[in-house]
């Protein structure tokens, strides 16, 4: 299966990746080649595609100390008081 540069660009936006023109040109045939290889799954796959369910450890529903807010905020690139700063999310129509 071949992928066009436009398709690669569409997937990249879904993945929140910006690619250079050179990356788009490199990735399109490489991804196509990998998908061709993956197509052999058609010959093997059975009807049962449900992922296996594994029993998980259940934690006791008891309060316990967690990591401090200060420790977590220390890694944020931009902070105001106890908040992580981000660019404006909602753009109003009169702006």
């Amino acid at each position: 299966m071949s992928l066009s540069v436009d398709e690669v660009r569409r997937i990249a936006l879904l993945a929140r990746l910006r690619l250079s023109a050179e990356e788009e040109r490199t990735f399109a045939p490489q991804l196509g080649q990998i998908l061709d290889y993956v197509a052999q799954l058609d010959r093997y796959a059975g009807a049962d595609t449900a992922p296996e369910e594994t029993p998980a450890l259940e934690a006791d529903d008891a309060p316990a100390p967690s990591m401090s807010r200060e420790a977590l905020l220390r890694n944020a690139p931009a902070v105001l008081d106890v908040f992580v700063l981000v660019p404006q999310v909602k753009v109003t129509s009169d702006e």
Binding site: R16, L17, S20, L41, A45, R74, P87
Partner: protein, 509 residues
């Protein structure tokens, strides 16, 4: 004697330190000196903790002098793959996107090593976010194979394997999603164990593919791997996928005889397709197992040939979801962008390398509307079937054996432009992660100086069986060698090794 302490194994060091026959400080000094000698050629480490290691060693010696009970890894220098969190240190995953991140906590497996008295000497190089089979996908440096410096050390835990092989440390931790402990162990001639899924807590391991990832040890002997597994294994409330299965006495059972055990050889593996040296080594490995009294039988895993296809769909689908968290908001690199969408796009463009982008694209595609059933759904179907086939095979045999890698270490740069060819080198290792099984990579021979390796695959939680057979095989093979001349090459010897400077231009400041 003290000049050569770096050659000791973890068990020897811990036993002598606990008995007061050896000072942890002397062991650490010897390993630091060895590291300083080999690191300019090998470049296994992204960061080293020389001063902190000396401080920790003195603490071990002080506790010993005060009569305190020391742990099973007292005074043992260890290297940690740089996708394991260690509080207060960076955790780069060899990616630019995590430059500036400081771990606010320590991974459970690392915490258990520290609790047992181990002393971290540094964090080791890897393929970015553990995606790769050569360490060439690191954003910062290319690690070299201690056996031949123009060859790759394997990946993604290539830095950990190279550090152990070069004699910098007797023990390292890696992580394995599709072979990332076993393949570098094979390429570097050391022992590497991928434990059963759930055997070791993944808390504090930066996630690549959560249904496949496992932390495990690399060492120069099966006994040291057994000793380490006993320390890091066991349930952890912080990882809901960790298992409550009791942890076996791996070291206590490792010397038991193996005669009468049954080992399966997979009928779908066509030995004629192996490189001649790998095939010869594989056949002599089977002979060695027979001589140990292990019965070799054929088993069938009809879906094995589809494994790489299924693996790359599942692993990359999970990776595309896991790596969505690296968005420039809460940690790591943030681009200076005006809008939120541009901030995501720019931060990820600048932060991720080409292999990570390629895999995120593949995973996003496989999970996208209209393609989910065709790719992810079918891959999960193959995985289920493969699990059933392994389970049926283990009704007939106690373990399954394959070569660990279809080739010895390849040359640096050889596969870097051919991602599919790189992926196919995981043919014997990736199926084990899909089925959640334990597998041990064991040095078995060499091809023109490059190590070759045998893989032992076990039933879920049967690590003790693998270690026992591995130990018997190791005894029959002789102690694994260390690369001769490494370090000496730096003192001006002209043994033909490439000792040109390592490119560290990408190293974070």
């Amino acid at each position: 004697m003290s000049d050569e302490l770096w050659t000791l194994g973890a068990e020897e060091i811990a036993t002598a330190v606990r008995a007061g026959e050896l000072r942890a400080a002397d062991v650490v000094e010897s390993c630091l000196a060895r590291t300083a000698a080999v690191e300019p050629s090998v470049a296994a480490y992204l960061r080293r903790f020389d001063d902190e290691a000396r401080r920790r060693a003195e603490e071990v010696d002080r506790r010993r002098a005060a009569g305190a009970e020391l742990g099973p890894l007292a005074g043992v220098p260890v290297a940690l793959k740089d996708n394991l969190n260690l509080e207060g240190d960076d955790c780069t995953c060899a990616s630019r996107i995590l430059v500036g991140y400081r771990a606010p906590y320590t991974a459970t497996a690392v915490e258990r090593l520290l609790g047992a008295g181990a002393i971290p000497l540094g964090k080791t190089n890897l393929d970015e976010f553990a995606m790769g089979s050569s360490c060439e996908n690191s954003a910062f440096q290319t690690t070299r194979n201690p056996w031949r410096l123009d060859a790759v050390p394997g990946g993604s835990s290539g830095g950990s394997a190279a550090a152990v092989a070069a004699g910098s440390v007797p023990l390292a931790l890696g992580s394995d999603t599709g072979g990332s402990i076993r393949q570098p162990a094979a390429f570097c001639g050391v022992v590497g164990l991928k434990p059963t899924y759930g055997r070791v807590s993944r808390y504090g391991l930066v996630a690549f593919a959560s249904s496949l990832d496992q932390i495990g040890p690399l060492a120069r002997s099966t006994r040291d791997v057994a000793l380490t597994l006993a320390v890091i294994a066991g349930a952890d409330p912080a990882d809901a996928t960790s298992s409550r299965q009791p942890v076996a006495d791996y070291l206590g059972s490792i010397e038991r005889p193996v005669a009468g055990m049954r080992a399966g050889v997979v009928a779908e593996v066509d030995a004629s397709t192996l490189q001649p040296a790998v095939r010869d080594d594989w056949e002599s490995s089977l002979d060695r197992l027979r001589q140990l009294g292990v019965e070799i039988r054929a088993v069938s895993l009809p879906h094995l040939p589809a494994t790489i296809a299924a693996y790359y769909v599942i692993a990359n689908s999970e990776a595309s979801a896991n790596l969505a968290r690296f968005d420039g908001i809460r940690y790591g690199r943030r681009a200076k962008s005006a809008s939120l969408l541009d901030l995501y796009l720019d931060s990820r463009e600048q932060g991720f390398g080409p292999e990570v982008k390629r895999r995120i694209l593949l995973g996003t595609f496989a999970l996208s509307s209209g393609y989910y059933d065709a790719y992810y759904g079918k891959a999960c179907g193959v995985r289920r079937e493969l699990e059933r086939q392994f389970s049926a095979a283990f009704a007939e045999v106690d373990l399954i054996v394959t070569p660990t890698s279809p080739t010895p270490a390849f040359a640096i740069g050889e596969k870097v432009d051919d991602p599919l060819s790189m992926y196919l080198s995981d043919i014997f290792t990736a199926p084990i992660n899909l089925a959640g099984l334990p597998a041990l990579a064991l040095p078995s021979g060499n091809d023109q100086g490059l190590p070759l390796s045998l893989q032992l695959i076990g039933r879920p939680f049967a690590e003790a069986d693998l270690l026992r057979v591995g130990r018997a095989f190791e005894r029959a093979t002789g102690a694994p060698a260390m690369p001769a001349g490494l370090g000496a090459a730096l003192r001006g010897s002209t043994d033909g090794r490439d000792t040109t400077a390592i490119d560290r231009s990408g190293a974070p400041s």
